[in-house]
Symmetry: C2
Subunit: 448 residues, 2 copies
């Protein structure tokens, strides 16, 4: 492989080369530093990146970690995740711009122990809440990354690092993955320890990650679970792929439905397709998810809301807290119980129809222009509250011709979302690898 193309390696490829001494730990980190330095001025994926520190981390790994699944692999860490050697702002700069935790989050400590090189902290919206920027879409800098794991999605989608941590409470991993192009993985609720990841709504907060290959999604999962076979291998049978019928088509742009339809047509020849009517109660989970976010976030930020000066929290977050303090306890309990019923309903659908995964849209639209970017996670929040694993990957591109407001031709990624059974992440990743080999593509971002 050309030395100029080292940034295109997957984590698994790089780790194998490093293990076989075909690639140096520091050499690989340097190649990614060069990529970051070339791209970051536009992409702005990093809240904290210091080349010298990344180099020092690489040298430390080279000297002190003799083996480990991630030995020599640089990773990005969403800045709501605590790190002992780098600032952790939670995206809340007026309050915590200078904050330096005394520890690494569980996921960071496990990754370091496995030889990962912590490259830096990636941009998050304030406390993983709602707003866009400063990161921009690597496929078109006038467009949004989606949020909140915007920096991690942009960093992996733009080939700065092969792996990065993110988190999802509504749609904060899958939607940025859809916009920026990398694979996004939200695991079953709770299976990756969230110690050191700032809460937003604890009953919904999922730690997950971004990669550019299912093998890499599995690799980091192996480190977090301690199971060296996690996500590896092929499905135990020919996959049975479920598609929901009865979506309200107005919920997404036509191109989103066309992309899903194309995946289905392509799979029709090689897999068993199962049609399942989407129960209304399942789509209604989106609203229950919002109720949980409102009620829980209001309490998560009680300190910042009540005790810090008004300029500490953004107005957006203050509004969320004020609104959430008004959600009646009875309504909150209703949402929890609806979620429990929804989980049983979905488990029943998987079982009744003998389906391995469902395919759904990952986002409702192509990457939005920055000034139009809003959060509409109607294909995400329902799975988040149902605690099932989901994986988004790119299956194709859409080329937009120049217009008066967009002077250049741009090529944007578009893809699908895989929804697996609760706690069946291993099997879901196996099916995802099977689907990856038939459907997925890696889109190289534009050059400037």
């Amino acid at each position: 492989m050309a030395r100029d193309d080292l940034h295109k390696l997957t984590a698994s490829e790089a780790a194998a080369l490093i293990r076989r001494k075909k690639l140096g730990v520091v050499e690989y980190t340097e190649a990614l530093i060069a990529r970051i330095e070339a791209r970051e001025p536009v992409v702005r994926a990093w809240q904290h990146f210091a080349a010298e520190q990344a180099r020092a981390n690489a040298r430390w790994v080279e000297r002190n970690v003799t083996e480990g699944a991630l030995r020599g692999v640089p990773i990005g860490v969403k800045d709501i995740i605590e790190t002992k050697d780098m600032p952790t702002t939670y995206g809340a700069l007026p309050l915590y711009g200078e904050h330096r935790p005394k520890w690494d989050a569980s996921c960071v400590a496990l990754a370091r122990q496995a030889g990962a090189v912590v490259m830096g902290k990636t941009v998050t919206s304030e406390f993983a809440g709602y707003y866009t920027g400063p990161s921009v879409n690597p496929h078109d800098p006038t467009r949004s990354t989606a949020f909140s794991s915007m920096g991690s999605a942009a960093a992996v989608g733009d080939f700065h690092v092969p792996l990065a941590f993110g988190s999802q409470t509504g749609g904060s991993i899958i939607r940025p993955a859809a916009f920026c192009g990398p694979i996004g993985y939200m695991p079953s609720y709770g299976i990756f320890n969230t110690t050191g990841v700032h809460n937003l709504a604890p009953s919904l907060d999922h730690l997950g990650h971004f990669a550019r290959a299912i093998d890499d999604v599995a690799l980091l999962g192996q480190v977090l679970t301690g199971d060296g076979r996690f996500g590896m291998g092929a499905p135990g049978r020919a996959p049975r792929i479920g598609f929901f019928t009865g979506w309200d088509k107005r919920q997404a742009q036509p191109v989103i439905w066309e992309t899903l339809e194309a995946a289905r047509a392509s799979l029709g020849k090689v897999a068993r397709i199962v049609e399942v009517k989407l129960p209304k109660a399942l789509f209604a989970m989106n609203d229950h998810c919002l109720t949980l976010i409102r009620y829980e976030a209001a309490r998560t930020f009680a300190h910042e809301y009540f005790q810090e000066k008004p300029g500490g929290l953004s107005n957006t977050m203050r509004d969320l807290v004020r609104d959430g303090l008004g959600v009646p306890r009875a309504r909150y309990l209703e949402a929890i119980e609806a979620a429990q019923a929804g989980r049983a309903l979905l488990a029943g659908l998987f079982k009744e129809h003998d389906v391995d995964v469902f395919l759904t849209p990952s986002a409702e639209c192509l990457p939005q222009l920055l000034e139009e970017a809003i959060s509409r996670s109607v294909f995400n929040r329902l799975w988040t509250i149902l605690h099932v694993p989901t994986i988004a990957f790119t299956t194709g591109t859409v080329t937009l011709k120049p217009t008066p407001t967009q002077p250049k031709t741009v090529t944007l990624p578009v893809g699908i979302q895989i929804v697996g059974r609760s706690l069946r992440d291993h099997e879901t990743l196996q099916v995802s690898r099977w689907l990856e080999s038939r459907l997925a593509c890696v889109v190289e971002p534009m050059n400037w």
Copy 2:
């Protein structure tokens, strides 16, 4: 009320007196400071207590909080819970003895906003794990408080404060409550926000509290939920009280079963008693709970285990982490799925038998001598993993005559545990108040 007896007020009584200007905020805090100063040299309930700081907090409340359900009520805060104005050691002194968080935990911020006076930080075992001391049982200083919320249980049981926060992952609220005499309340999983409470095993970590009256349990619950009627009022019908049959009687001392039997005999005249055979699968939840603790705690403390010097974590905690890293992922998933099935099983029992609460032992023995103290939470871990609300209170005392190893006569509290339906904390507290009026007693600790 005699000024010397102010420490005997419940939080609800004190708050009412303060509201009616019959009692001053600072005056009440001073009375409790005097109580602490008299008792603390023996009881050692406080990890951090500074009279001047407590006074300052009282003065601040007096001046700045004009209304609030807890106005002027001093509270204790278990030292795994973060506070902006006091050290937070997590009970891990070699690592975090000097740690000062930048924020208050959610529960502390909400309590302060409601006018609570943060009195200090109460002793916890290291990261709420397994070990006893330095707190001692206020009813006999040669005996254990049980753990891990030992300081909060001792502080409320010894009348230092009327309310204190604790947490339970195995039996860390209910068992110390049983040993030390106050009411202990572990809510339904997740209903009180745990932001700023250090994780142990996140799928099991419950924030709860200690009090000496069900009204006070409800009062603090109102502040945390924002529902001013939470836990108030009488049950909607004559309570139906379930008792399990088929316990393995060797699991507890005879006096524990006699106490439960006495409660049952007393209630037989006024409530409908329902006998339910204890399913074996329910008691087996104790082991599944341990599996979750082992797997999750190993990851929670990855930073301290892998990156800190060996003396940072105690050997007990290092052993827990090492052991937990060896738990196979498949076994962890089995335990999660068993827990899900167990929750459905218990919900079914409540429904089938039309029971409001079950009464069970709260601890397997009377307070142990300090040198004999071990953690055997076989009447707690099963409810913790099932995520249902539980409340322990004292129903009587046992007097132990002098022996060669115990020169004085001691009077120890003994009580019962109320197990409610998942998410039905409001109704469980109503039934608990009904039971409190018929069964509960408050035992004054010994004088030295």
